[in-house]
């Protein structure tokens, strides 16, 4: 591949990937309501967001659900990954492996439908709790995959040495393996957090009237057409995700520097 061709392809690829996002962010600072007209720089759409009570309420619900479900999903994912990486060939391993990975490839509409049917059949009222349950179910397969690969790459000999020196398996794991996978735990949490913050389909099925998430509110407004306020909130969300992403990169780098 000649250099000119290579650089041309890379440029075209990155323009395709970033231009729509950049245009969206630029439009959020457009004083004009029309997408096609540039009316000068303005932050008025961001100011309007501050007065949009339902939107702020939804943002809070989305953030709370994302933090809580990411924490639970990271914990469950850690247990599942430990079982798959460290318990050897236990009897129901294949079933467990399949069940843990299945939500990864199931269409979200089907998972949402299944969860809603279940909540209704059991007579569970839908709201914040069911929203978190839905998001944990959706994201724990991702955290399991992320933590499984981290656990597989850490040095078993260190844990064995700890046990030879008298540590119980649990102590050896908590004191030796856990610090080694701390960066992976952080990135698993951030992955689950972003997925939950981003999710529309599962939330629509799993939540009730009292707990409308931000993506649900954006979605219902997008159907009415492009609006500068949505551009503004989208840009804020993009910024938040970029911060989380940058944070996780820094954590990973710090981990690498300490030789972990």
């Amino acid at each position: 591949m000649s250099n000119i061709f290579r650089i041309g392809v890379l440029t075209a690829g990155f323009v395709f990937l970033y231009a729509p996002i950049a245009i969206l962010a630029a439009m959020s600072f457009n004083a004009s309501r029309l997408v096609s007209v540039w009316g000068g720089f303005s932050t008025k759409w961001y100011a309007a967001l501050l007065e949009n009570e339902p939107l702020i309420e939804s943002t809070k619900i989305s953030l709370a659900a994302a933090v809580l479900s990411a924490a639970i999903a990271t914990f469950l994912g850690l247990l599942a990954a430990v079982a798959l990486a460290r318990f050897g060939a236990f009897r129901s391993r294949m079933l467990f492996f399949g069940a843990v990975h299945a939500p990864l490839v199931l269409p979200e509409v089907v998972l949402g439908l299944a969860l809603l049917s279940c909540f209704v059949a059991l007579g569970i009222g839908r709201g914040f709790a069911t929203l978190v349950i839905g998001h944990v179910t959706l994201t724990m397969c991702f955290t399991t995959v992320a933590l499984l690969s981290a656990l597989r790459s850490c040095d078993l000999a260190l844990e064995e040495a700890a046990m030879d020196l008298g540590a119980t398996p649990l102590q050896a794991f908590a004191l030796v393996a856990l610090p080694q996978i701390a960066p992976a735990l952080m990135s698993a949490f951030l992955l689950a957090f972003t997925l939950s913050l981003d999710d529309l389909v599962i939330a629509s099925f799993a939540t009730g009237p009292g707990a409308t998430t931000l993506p649900m509110r954006i979605f219902s407004q997008v159907r009415l057409g492009v609006s500068p306020q949505i551009n503004a909130i989208s840009t804020l969300l993009l910024g938040m995700v970029a911060l989380a992403l940058g944070g996780s990169a820094l954590v990973m780098q710090a981990g690498k520097r300490r030789g972990l």
């Binding site: 990937l17 509409v109 998972l111 398996p169 997008v222």
Partner: protein, 304 residues
């Protein structure tokens, strides 16, 4: 096959927690969907019967089991709406997968042939949009594709067209949305396959007189096969069940199964029909999944 090991009490406790969660909130709901797909639709809440209750006697249960029916599945085959939705979902997903491959392959090749020190940065840049909100990335395309959107405005300003091109609310827009949203899924596995290739094989082919094009067709492409397969499935499978993209970018005539399912469930309240369609969808997707799983295991074995 290796002998299965008995687990210690502590290990069993650690295993039980994620197991119980999956059983309660994934396996049980999926079984319930399967059961609802065999039920009859009624005007009540929940909108299906029979319901199995703890107070049921054995006779009740037997009578209820006998009332289960495959009618919803027969209706799926007979109902042209569902059948058309399946066919058009598979077609749209297939076309999108090919288009994504055409965009991703040169992109991945250019990254894999870049200087070594640049590669982590390039791959990070290519993967980053994958982490930003999916809904917002799809939404961004509305501003580009609409009649008074940026593409039409730019083309009209340049005098290339006089009336806006009809791009928004078409099946083509859905394909563009899928290519854009799923590009990293295709890009990363192909990049991984290309990056790991042994450069000496290409040099040997060149030494033996192969043209660059021949080197590509006979060395590079065949050796990246696994990456292409993985990428194709990672795009195809979610695209078949996609809901958000056809809802936002598609027109009223863009028929996709995720959308049909959603409407049947929320608008028509026909849960048994929606459940049967969901089970059928999962069954259709199972075939490529099993193939993917087999390829993945083979990959794992090779890496050891």
């Amino acid at each position: 096959m290796k002998a299965s090991r008995r687990l210690s009490l502590g290990q069993r406790a650690a295993l039980a927690i994620p197991y119980l969660w999956i059983a309660a909130f994934f396996l049980a709901p999926m079984l319930l969907i399967a059961k609802i797909s065999l039920s009859n639709s009624v005007l009540a809440r929940p909108p299906y019967e029979p319901r199995f209750l703890p107070s049921d006697t054995l006779g009740d249960i037997w009578a209820k089991i006998q009332s289960l029916t495959f009618a919803n599945y027969r209706a799926l085959v007979g109902d042209s709406l569902y059948f058309d939705a399946y066919v058009s979902s598979l077609l749209i997903a297939g076309v999108s997968m090919l288009a994504t491959l055409l965009v991703a392959y040169p992109f991945a090749l250019a990254m894999a042939r870049s200087p070594r020190k640049w590669r982590p940065f390039l791959i990070g840049m290519a993967a980053a949009p994958f982490w930003t909100s999916f809904l917002i990335r799809v939404y961004a395309w509305i501003a580009l594709l609409r009649d008074e959107g940026l593409i039409n405005n730019a083309l009209m300003a340049l005098g290339l067209i006089h009336a806006p091109l009809e791009m928004f609310a078409t099946t083509g827009a859905v394909v563009v949305g899928i290519v854009y949203s799923y590009l990293p899924f295709m890009l990363l596995p192909i990049y991984a396959a290309l990056e790991g290739q042994d450069a000496s094989l290409r040099e040997a082919a060149e030494d033996l007189g192969a043209s660059p094009w021949q080197v590509f067709l006979r060395i590079t492409l065949p050796l990246s096969r696994d990456g292409v397969i993985a990428g194709a499935l990672l795009v195809f499978i979610p695209a078949v069940g996609e809901f958000v993209i056809p809802e936002l970018l598609g027109g009223s005539d863009t028929l996709m199964i995720g959308r049909t399912l959603w409407n049947d469930f929320f608008a028509n309240h026909d849960w048994p029909a929606a459940s049967a369609a969901a089970i059928a969808l999962v069954s259709i997707l199972l075939a490529p999944l099993l193939l993917w799983e087999r390829a993945r295991l083979r990959e794992e074995e090779r890496r050891g």
